[in-house]
Amino acid sequence: MNNKSALLNRRTFLRGTGVALALPWFETFAADSPRRDKTPKRFVSVYHPDGVGLPLKSDPAWEDWSWFPHGDEKEFKLTKVLDVLEPLQSDITIYSGLSHPTARKVHGHSNADQYLTGAATGGHGPYKNSISLDQVYAEYAGKFTRHSCLVMSTNGGVGGPRGAQTQSFNREGRAIPAMNKPKQIFDMLFVTNTKDAAVRLARSKSALDFLIANTQSLGRQLSKHDQGTLQQYLDSVRDTEIKLAKAQRWIDTPIPEVETRNLHLDAEPREARLYFQTMYELIYLAFLSDSTRVATFQLGRENGEGPHDLLSMAVGLGGAHGLTHAVKKPKGWENLGTYNRYQAEEFGRFAQKLKDTPEPTGAGNMLDNTFAMHGSASSSFHLSRNYPIISAGGKNLGFQNGRYLKFGKGNEDNQAGAGIVSDAGWRGKIEAEELPLAQLFITILQRLGVETESFAGYTGTLGRV
């Protein structure tokens, strides 16, 4: 590897004057520089559709099968839905009273699209989205790794507008296709064929060299003042060159070798347990090898159908979406709770694995340097309020766990939609006050090292987080 980048070193040194190079230099050669031991900061978001079970307090099921814990910030008891997370209780935080304001009166089934973006995607008519939380971070952290992000879902692709099958949207608001086949994901991460990429890179490099020469000859015909303006263009071309050099370096860098014995790359959603665990394992391996620091994973799609419904069969239940409609039937809350419990269990297994793995740089364990989020864009009855959100880890980023953070006012017991008790209520009057989820996103970004004061037009952060 060092041999192969020798050419680059020389070229860069020849051109390497001025401020423009200083920063990218370190980024490009981070792995070779003294900053190599810098511990990665990671972000992962797992989305599950259809919300969770939130019976009224008067319902006998409330005690055991309400998704949210009972109690207050420090002293709280997990119900049967989340008790699988008890071993991790000091590493997790549970949030209530948060939602994206522009979606509060849109049917929950249309809202997976905006969970990480906070955009006003609406329920019908013209459609426009904006950049998602993970992609804001990927723009920043992507330069340190071979892949800027890992985007996955059980259903794959982008889905349809208001029926997203991906959690990630780029700066223009376009959906980024999610991968759903473990074998493909593994090959992308660990068996890349780099021939085409190398040819494309070489071509780009010739173009950039050409543009630099062309610009310099133009510069000689300009006034001193205008040369200064042109310098900015030249710097941009050179920054791009450095990016190319970095891409070249990844092509030249051997792909990390990972332990594959436990991987079942042919797993499909119908073998839900195996599939879930394989997908989580792939995120784990991608993080462990520092192939990326950003991942999203969407379980199923809103409104069921397709591979999504197969997931709940893992716990012996019918179609996942159907469970949310059957809560008023005998054992209805329990069945939905059991499915949500299973989702939490798999998330917990992933978090535990990160916790059990020491950070390769020695800075605690991997979970301490990872902010892992698990949630949905609706609570009960497809109401787009009070998103059920768990986060795990992030201790070294400044997150204090072991807490149950209730935000907003008027729904302290987290009863279904604050008074709305049926599916027809999604348009209903909003009785309880909730805070914008984007304010949590701003905190997350800041702690991951992104300098920002706003997200999706919202400003400010949440207290206590």
Binding site: H107, S110, G159, R203, L218, S223, S236, K243, G306
Partner: protein, 869 residues
């Protein structure tokens, strides 16, 4: 000439008569105010100093200062601006009277502004009132000294219009270059406006690596769209014949047909249905399903079918096209349509919407036609209406290639009748008999966009020779100048590197051409240093002039004619230039000037953050009005005093309804005469201006005042000081106050008064217009109080008072502001003190040309400043 003098005498005569009769009960009309104000112009009195040749070494005229100016300042100003009291931190006794070498030029400019705008001494300081002749003496002296100082600065300081193209200029340049009529540059990040409101200001147009990469990506994608390789792709074609649809629909099991001759037809007449005009058979019809034609070449029906679709206002035909439309290429939607009735007050137009409903709550439906297309033919002689839609740019159904049937894969095209038809028995409906949808659609093969790049040549078989030909032609248009053989050779060297990677010449050449689209000479407006070092502030080159001209008037690169004239060094010849400017203004591309200049000048982007206008057709009309108004004044070469007040408005049906102007029909903007009671006329009362300068619920005098000062008077207020106290809206005492009282309260705080007393009075004069720009006489059952007192103690009574004051006393300032704004836009750089003399000179010429907007464009283009670096 005689008659002209006579006319002037007459005007003066009538003016003095008016002045004599000027009592508060009968104020002069606004049109009279225009004449009165014009008489006061300083620019029309004497030849301005700067029009005389500037001496090699200008000298300060201190003798006149000592003799005439200083005594006046001592008598009229020093009491407030002297050792005893220095209001505004100004002491006139300490200003260095040598403007050429002294340090006080900026303060003198302020003195000049307040004196020439009659802002000082204040109206109520009778003891210090300046006689007109005295004021004129100081202003003339200052004007001459400022111009001399400005000329010196101009020669010393280097300023530059070398700049990157704005996002919209780049988009137009690429569109015009490649012949692609749709938006190409949406991927570029948005651009901010500079302090003077303009987005084309050289200092703001930055470049970054991300931006540079986006240029590369856009350029390559656009070239790949413009050129083709391989065989012509077979188009997918859908044909919807109303005859077939009727046969199918009527043969359905539960088909409910009716007949035109039945008694009950009345209730179906204005519902959407298929009708056989010969037999009278009809059936309701709003959803069709179509599959592509088998590969036989589609035959164009020339005979109009007797079976037609009756499409009433706001109805739409929804066509299920299944999943067969290609991913890329142009989709042509061709509709043969006519009108059921020809009442000129009614219009009907077609709009295309594209949708999919992939599962329960997952759906979208987006308008894909850029404009509604009007149907003008009669039903007896219907005409084809064509829409061209780039399929790669619209939201598609992502599931269309699924092998399973869920989520649903179909895509839908909606054809909608957008109309102002008013119902009734003979209501205007659209009559459609034939629809054809075809993609990818090519007018010819290979398409013109391809042959514009890869043209026919005898050397086509020699890649070296032909490559040079292609590059020479392409580069000349990209770089807006002739190219040398050596420059072409450099590109051929790149081509040689690429060629082995591609199977054919075109594909490799497209990569090379894409590189040309990322060169600084395309992305920037370059100005080469004059090789002759003696010429210090030399003129720009001929090609550079052609570019500056076309960027100014077309927001794009010069066309072939301009390039040719520049290459032949003829463009600078006055007759040639005049003819070219006329040609350019007559070209549809000049609409881009009205659009981009007016949007930036008036800050119409402010409408984008307005959320209280919920009717989208009203919002669009509001945004279009100032542009249409400006365009009207430009095309008719009218005086810019029309911007302050005009006895006409430029409106469409929606906006006319908003303004309560009767009898205007149709979506297009046109000039209409208005009565004074409409309380409109000019730009200030435009709904967009009033709406964006409100707080969403009510008017916002402060925003409106700032807007007036910045945009119209070009006298921007300083930014608020950092420690300015916020208005405490939780204070119950403050909540009780009316808005005007609240402003007064805020203003009376010491930190605020000095600025606010200059801003607020302008805005309060707008109080008769609410947050949507609707005229009102009462606010919450209180009469509107739109009376305010300017800083110079002049009283403004509402909008008419404001207009009258501006037209009577501020014409010079208005004219100079206009010259300043358009010149800054034309040059693409902020103007500085070094430009003061040039702007003064232009303003004098402009005023002598009766402030005519069309003439101003010609004046600017032939001015020294426009032809200099």
């Amino acid at each position: 000439m005689k008659t002209l003098e006579f006319a002037i005498l007459l005007v003066i005569g009538s003016v003095s008569a008016i002045l004599a009769a000027d009592t508060p009960e009968t104020p002069i009309t606004l049109e009279q105010a225009k004449d009165v104000g014009r008489m006061k112009s300083r620019f029309l009195k004497a030849a301005p100093a700067s029009s005389q040749p500037i001496l090699a070494i200008p000298k300060a005229n201190l003798a006149y200062f000592n003799q005439s100016v200083e005594p006046l300042l001592t008598r009229n100003c020093i009491a407030c601006h002297g050792p005893d009291k220095s209001a505004g931190r100004l002491r006139v006794d300490e200003l260095d009277p040598d403007l050429l070498t002294g340090p006080d030029v900026e303060r003198w400019r302020e003195v000049y502004n307040v004196l020439s705008n009659s802002e000082m001494p204040p109206d109520d300081e009778l003891d210090y009132a300046l006689a007109d002749a005295d004021r004129g003496g100081i202003v003339d002296w200052l004007s001459g000294e400022l111009n001399k100082a400005s000329a010196i600065r101009r020669n010393q300081k280097e300023h530059s219009s070398f700049r990157r193209l704005t996002k919209y200029e780049y988009n137009y340049a690429l569109q015009d270059l490649l012949g692609l009529p749709y938006a190409l540059a949406n991927k570029l990040p948005p651009e901010a406006a500079s302090e003077n409101g303009f987005k084309n200001s050289s200092e703001l147009l930055q470049m970054s690596a991300t931006q540079f990469e986006t240029y590369r990506e856009i350029g390559l994608t656009a070239l790949k769209r413009a050129t083709v390789s391989g065989e012509r792709a077979k188009p997918v074609t859908y044909i919807i014949s109303m005859q077939d649809e009727l046969n199918r629909a009527a043969s359905g099991k539960n088909a409910k047909t009716f007949n035109k001759n039945d008694e009950g037809y009345e209730k179906n007449r204005n519902r959407q249905h298929l009708l056989n005009r010969e037999t009278g058979q009809g059936i309701h019809f709003s959803n069709g399903k179509s599959t592509p034609q088998p590969e036989t070449v589609v035959e164009q029906t020339s005979t109009v079918s007797p079976v037609v679709l009756i499409l009433p206002r706001s109805n739409e035909l929804k066509l299920n096209l299944d999943r067969f439309l290609p991913d890329e290429g142009i989709m042509r939607v061709r509709i043969r349509a006519g009108r059921s009735s020809m009442n000129p007050d009614e219009y009907a137009s077609l709009r295309l919407i594209f949708s999919a409903h992939t599962s329960n709550n997952a759906n979208f439906s987006n308008t894909i036609s850029e404009h509604d297309l009007a149907v003008t033919a009669s039903a007896d002689q219907p005409e084809f209406i064509d829409f061209m839609i780039p399929l790669g740019d619209i939201q598609r159904n992502p599931f269309r290639k699924l092998t399973t049937t869920f989520p649903r894969r179909d895509e839908f095209l909606h054809i909608r009748n957008v109309s102002n038809a008013r119902g009734g028995n003979e209501s205007l409906n659209l009559i459609i008999d034939y629809i054809e949808i075809s993609a990818p659609f090519y007018e010819q093969w290979p398409p013109k966009t391809h042959t514009d790049v890869f043209f026919d040549s005898g050397n086509k078989n020699d890649e070296q020779l032909y490559g040079r030909e292609v590059l020479t032609r392409f580069l000349r248009r990209v770089w807006r100048r002739p190219v040398t053989a050596q420059e072409v050779n450099q590109f051929m060297a790149l081509f040689a590197k690429y060629r082995p990677e591609f199977s054919n010449f075109e594909d490799a050449m497209v990569e090379v051409l894409a590189t040309a689209l990322a060169t600084p000479e395309f992305l920037y407006m370059a100005q080469r240093v004059n090789p002759n070092p003696d010429e210090r502030h030399s003129t720009i080159g001929d090609s550079e002039l052609a570019t500056r001209l076309s960027i100014f008037l077309w927001s794009s690169s010069p066309d072939d004619e301009l390039l040719k004239l520049a290459e032949q060094k003829q463009l600078r010849e006055p007759d040639v230039m005049t003819a070219q400017v006329k040609r350019m203004l007559a070209d549809p591309r000049s609409k881009r000037f009205s659009q981009n200049f007016v949007r930036q000048w008036l800050g119409l982007d402010g409408m984008d953050s307005v959320v209280h206008v919920t009717d989208s057709s009203l919002r669009e009309a509001m945004q279009e009005e100032p542009i249409a108004f400006f365009d009207e004044v430009l095309r008719r070469n009218r005086s810019i005093m029309d911007f302050i007040h005009s006895d006409f408005a430029v409106v469409n049906e929606r906006l006319a309804a908003h303004y309560r102007i009767q009898g205007i029909y149709g979506p297009h903007f046109r000039r209409v005469a208005i009565e004074p009671q409409t309380n409109r006329g000019g730009l200030l009362t435009g709904a967009a201006i009033l709406t964006m300068n409100s707080d969403g619920k009510d008017s916002h005098p402060l925003k409106r005042g700032v807007w007036m000062l910045e945009r119209i008077l070009h006298d921007p207020p300083p930014p608020p000081p950092p420690n300015v106290p916020e208005v405490d809206l939780t204070d119950p005492e403050i909540l009780k106050m009316t808005l005007k009282e609240r402003i007064m309260d805020h203003r009376n705080k010491a930190a605020c008064i000095s600025c606010h007393s200059r801003i607020d009075p302008w805005g309060i004069a707008f109080e008769n217009y609410d947050a949507l720009g609707t005229y009102r006489t009462r606010i919450k059952n209180q009469p509107v109080d739109a009376t305010s007192e300017l800083f110079n103690k002049h009283t403004l009574v509402g909008m008419n008072g404001l207009k009258r004051y501006l037209l009577t006393d501020r014409q010079d300032q208005l004219a100079r502001a206009m010259v300043h704004k358009i010149t800054a836009y034309a040059l693409g750089r902020p103007l500085s003190f070094g430009d003061h003399a040039d702007i003064d000179d232009l303003t004098a010429q402009f005023r002598k040309a009766d402030d005519r907007l069309g003439d101003l464009i010609h004046l600017i283009i032939s001015s020294r400043i426009f032809n200099s670096k």
